[in-house]
Every structure is written in structure tokens, then in C-alpha cells.
Symmetry: C2
Subunit: 213 residues, 2 copies
Amino acid sequence: MREDFQAELDRVSSTLVTMAMAARETMRQASTALITADHTVALQVTARDAEIDVLYRVAEDRAYDLVARRQPVADDLRKAVTSIQVAADLRRMGGLAVHVARSVLRRHPAPAVVPELAELFQAMGTVADGLAGKIVSALSDHDAVLAAQLDRDDDAMDHLYQRLFAVLLSPDWPMGVEAAIDGALLGRYYERYADNAVNVGHHVVALITGKTD
Amino acid sequence: MREDFQAELDRVSSTLVTMAMAARETMRQASTALITADHTVALQVTARDAEIDVLYRVAEDRAYDLVARRQPVADDLRKAVTSIQVAADLRRMGGLAVHVARSVLRRHPAPAVVPELAELFQAMGTVADGLAGKIVSALSDHDAVLAAQLDRDDDAMDHLYQRLFAVLLSPDWPMGVEAAIDGALLGRYYERYADNAVNVGHHVVALITGKTD
């Protein structure tokens, strides 16, 4: 019976892995679209929003079904409910990738990031991809240590976010108000994406250990 | 037995009502601090973040405890788990009020909103307060109809958010880049607050009816 529960929880987790891969891939595409002002790729990102929504429903239904049939208690119950929270976090990450893609679509054919910021956003995209990749691995391998590292990894994004504002607010910023606002909001999407990744990290630790921090 | 479950769920809900009141009050204070550049009030908002966090833990623990002891199935199970999701949404709303308050602290003694935007942010504060007030009522009175109205009420915030960007991006915006970035990010906090309120609305409908939309 106990083993059945874990096997079924793993089935929920496999949906979470698929979601995490989608949340990673959409942000990777959104970052590419942002740097190259690629309308087609940006559109592909927005189209995947619905797919991530469906995966969320699948994960949620499987978790409810698991609890209803197995009636787990204590740690097992927390694990099952936590899997729903992970799914919600991953959906939010996908949503933030869509926000980036929408910025690209709004400014097309002009780029949504001015050349002065391209390098910074490339770095933000790389950090975001690393965080999401670690989530995929932590979920796939049930690796709580890897999940716990996300907290520290997020420092790199915070650092880039601060550098972004230093550039935007420097007295010799040459690009005007619109480009500054675009930069600030895009930066916020990446920063939120990373923050949600940290949340996933905490939840994945709970998903593996059954303990909340 | 069935009645006991509902009575215990109401106990979880009463914590959610307290959280909703705190999420409302913190944004109300943050809006006041923003319009009047009031350092003391802004500090009070940031101090209440920890209080909302504690309330979140209480709501979560009560919900887990309820599920563990009562072993509800089907709609009752969904209601119990949904109450955790409502708590998470409300915590996010409180967090956004803290973001507003931090902007006030960062610019103090200068105001974080320039006079050109004061009226717009006053209106955003009023809409946010209305949304949060409706959440308090919907949760207190188990009123699914009221909760469902939040979707429509959010249109007012979206409208204000669009007007904000029209002002910030108008060719005769006189206040420079920093004020524009502050305005854009503050606007985003209010817009996210309202979006989370809409999420609460959906979840409260599920909490009352046991059905997800």
C-alpha cells in the first residue's frame, strides 16, 4: 500500500517534470525572441500558454485523485497537496515567459530591448534557463539538495536585476522613457520567474521530504 | 460527521477572512503612504508582512489537519485544498502591498509618485480596496456570486493600468526616466494585486461550491 502511494505520487511528479520542461522551454524561446526580435518564436510562446494550463489541470486532477483514493495522512498528504502547489508555481513561470513574448510582439518589428540592454537580458535568460533546468533535474531525480540550491542561484538574477536598474537610471541613459519602461518591466518578469523558481525549490524539498521549511 | 466537516472548514475560512482583511488593510495603508509619502505608514506595511506569513501557516496547518482527520473525498477534499490556495493568493496580495510600501521607503522624503500620476494611483488604490473588500465579504458570507463578480471588477484596474501607460508614454511626459519607471512598476504591483484578487474569486467559488471552473 505504502509503495503504491509513492508510485502514484511519482505519476503526478512525472506531469510536473513535463510542466517544468515546458516552463523552461517557453522562457528559453521567449529569451531568444527577445534578443532577436523574432515574431514567429514569440507567437509560439504565447500559443504554449494553453498547453501549460492543460498540464496544470492534469497534475491537479491526478493529485486530487491520489488523495481521494489513497487517503494519505501526515507527510504523504503534504506531499500530494504540495504537488498541486508546484504545478501552480510552474504555471506562473510559463505565464511570465508569455509576458516576455507579448512584449516582443508589442514592439515588433522594433526590438523590445534596446542594444544597450541586450547583453544583460541575455544573461538573465541564461540564469532563468539554469534555474528551470535545475527544477527539471530535481523533480526527475527526486533531488532535494539540488532543489535547495535554487535559493542561492537566484542571487545571480537579483544581481542582474540591480545592474539593470543602474543602467536604466544612469544620468547618461540615451534611449528615452519607453525603452526604459520596457526594460524595467521585462526585468521584473525575469526576476519574478526566478522568484517562482525559488518557490518551486522550497516546494520540491517538501515534495521529497514531506516537510515544509 | 458531514456537518462537523463544514464547521471545521468554516474555522479554516475564518483564518482566510482574517488574512483577507490584513491583505486589504496593508494595501490601503500602502496606498495612503504612496499618495502622502508617509514613511511611518510605509514601515508599518512592511512590518505586517510577517503577520500575514504567520496567518498563512495557520490556515495551511488547519487545512492539512482537517484533511488528515476527516479524510474528506470529492468536493469536500477540493474545498479543503482550495482553502490553502486562497491563503497563498492572499499572501501574494499582502506581498504586493509591501512592494508598494518599499517603493515609498526607497524614494522618501521625495514622493514615489509624481503629482502627474497621483490621481491615477489614488483610483488604483480605490479599486484595489474594493476588490479586497469584496473578497472579505464573499469569504465571510460564503457568497459565490460576490466572488464571481471580481472578474468583472478587475476590468476597472486594467483600464487604469492602460491609462497609466498612455500618460507615461505620451510625448510630453515631463518627469524623466526614473519617475516613469517607478510609475510603471507601481502600476504593475496594483495590476498584479487585482489579478490575484481575481484568482481568489475563482478559488472562493470553488471553496463554496466544491467545483473548479
